[in-house]
Amino acid sequence: MRKVLDVAIRFVLSCTGIILIGALPPFLAGLQRKTLDWGIYWASLKEIVYSIVHVQDVTYMYLQTEKPLFPFMLEPVMYSLSVMLGAFVLACTAALLMTIITILFNYRVRRFIKIIFYIFESIPDILIIFIAQLSVIFIFQKSGILLMDIAALDKQKIYLLPIVCLSILPTVQLFRLSMIVFEEELNKDYVLLARSIGLKKLFIVIVHIFRNAVISVFFQSKKTVWFMLSNLFILEYLFNMGGVTLFMMESLNPKIFTITLIAFFIPIFIFYTVGEWLIKRKITGGESIS
C-alpha cells in the first residue's frame, strides 16, 4: 500500500512539474518587451489545468479546420512510441551483445575498443543522421538498390532507418555504461570462485554476471531515454515523420504542448515503474536496490 502511494505521489509531482513548465512561454514572451507579468503565467496555468480536466473539448487547428485533439493525438503518439521502443530495444540488445563480446577479450584489446567508442560518443546526432541518409543515397546511386526509405512522404510511415539512426548513440552510451558495470562485477569474488571450479569465462559472463549487471544498467538507462527523446525530435524533423514531436511543433500552444507531453510521459513512467517493481520482486526477493 505504501509503495502504491509512493508511486502515486511521484506521478502527481512529475505531472505538476510538466504543467508548471508548460505554462512558461507566454510568460517568457514578455522578455521581448522587458517585462515579466506573473498574471499571464497564472492565467495560462489555469487554462492548462482546465483543458486537462476537459480533455475531450480541446481542439487544434489542422489545415485551417478545427479538429478534436483527443482521438487524433493517439496515432502520432503511438507511432513515436513504437519508433522509440524499437530503437531502445535495439540499442539495449546491441549494447549488451557488444559488452559480452568485448569482455571476453583481454584488457589491452578492451581498452582499445573503449577508446574508439569514447570518441564516437561525442559525435552530434545530426551528423549521424546525415551520414546515414547520405550513405543510403550513395548505395542507391552506385547499385540501384534502395536499402530503406530515407524520408516519409505525406502519410507514409517509415520505421527501419529512423530506428537504426535513433539507436546508434544510445547503443554507444549504454555500451559504456554496461561495460563499467560488467567490469566491476568481473572483479568480484563470486567470479573468482566460479573460475576456480573450472567454469568457462563465457558461461560465467552470460549466466552469472549478466543477471547482476543488467539491473544496474536498467536503473541507469533513464538518462539515455531522456537523450533519446531530444534525438527523436530531430529525427522526426529530418525524416519528415508524422510523429508526436512534429505535432507539438506545428501547434506551439501551451495547452496542446502540455497534453502531448503528459500523453508521452505516461507510457515511459509506466515502463520504468513496472520495470523497477518487477526487478525488485523477481531478482532480490523484495530487497531494495539502491
Partner: protein, 339 residues
Amino acid sequence: MKSVWKNPFFLIGFIFIAGVLIASFIYSGITNDHIPKYRFIYDDNGKIIGGSPQPPSWKSPFGTDKGGYDMFAKAIVGAKYTILSALAVGVVRMVLAVPIGLFLGVFLRRKKKYINGFVDSFHYIPLTILAVYLLRPILLEPQGGFTTTIFERIAMEVVILAILTVPIIVVVIGNETGRVAEQEFVLCSKTLGAGKLRIIRKHIFPALREKIFVIFGQQMMQTLIVFSHLGLLQIFLGGTHISYDPWMPDPPQSITYEWSGLIGNTYKLLQWIPWVPLTPIICFALTMIAVSFMIEGYVQATTGYSHYFKKGKGKKQKVKELPKLEPSPEEFHLYQKSS
C-alpha cells in the same frame, strides 16, 4: 595528483578549443569579419570555368556556399560566439546548481524523495523541444524588427538554456553530497564539533571537485548539441533575422555567423552540396570531442584512474627506489662464541 597540464588528453582538447577561439578573434580583428567571396572561378586566361557553390579545394578548404562565400572563413568567424556561449551556459548552470545541490544534500535529506519525484518530470521532456518552445518568442524577429539588442538576446538565451537543466544537476549533486556526507570522515568531523557549513567547505566540496568538473564538461557538450538542434529548427544564437518582404522573402538568417545559423535550412541541400551543411556540423563534432578529451584528461590527471575506462588495471605507480645497501662481511660480529 599530477598536473592536468601534463596530461596529453587534456592538452589536446584545450589546445584545440583555445586555438580555435584565438584564431577566431584574430581573424575578426584583422579582417573585420570579412568573408572572401569566390562567385566565379577563372582559369589562367581569365575564362570562367566554374561558379559557386564550389566543392572543397585548396583555396577554400570547406568549399563555398551558393553565394560563393567561403565556408571556412564563416566557420572561423562564428566559432567565438558558439563556443563562448556554450561555455557561458555551462558556467551559469554550475554556478546555480552547485550551491543549491550542496545545500539540498546537507540540509534537506529527508525531503529528498519528493524533490527527486518533482525533478524526475524533467527527464520526460525533450530538452530541444522545450528550448524551442521557450526561446521562440524571444529569438524570432517580430514584424518591425527586434526591440532588444543582440547581447541582451544572447544573455537571455544563455540564462534560459542554463536554467532548464539546473534542477537535474541539483539532484545529481545533492545525491553525491548525501553519499559523501555519510562517509566516516565526515561523521568523525561532526563528532568533533564541526558545523554544517564547515563540513561543506572542508570535506564535501573538495570530495566533489572532480565530479563537478565532469558535469560541467558534459553540460557544455549537451549545450552544443542543443545549439545544433536549434539551428536546424531555425532558432539561431542571438536571434533569427526574418525577412517580411511579401514578394521575395529571404530565408531566415543568423545575425552573426555562429554555427547554428550556418546549419539553418541548408540541410535540404545535403544531397547536392553536402559540404555546406556538413561544415558547421563537423565544427560542432570537433569541439565536442575536444571537450570530452578535456574531461578524460582532467579525470585521469586528478584521480589517477579514468572516467570512461573505469576499473582498469591503471598505470603501475612508480615506487621510489631506495639506495641499495650491500652488506659487507665487516658489519657482522659474533657477540657470543658458543663453546
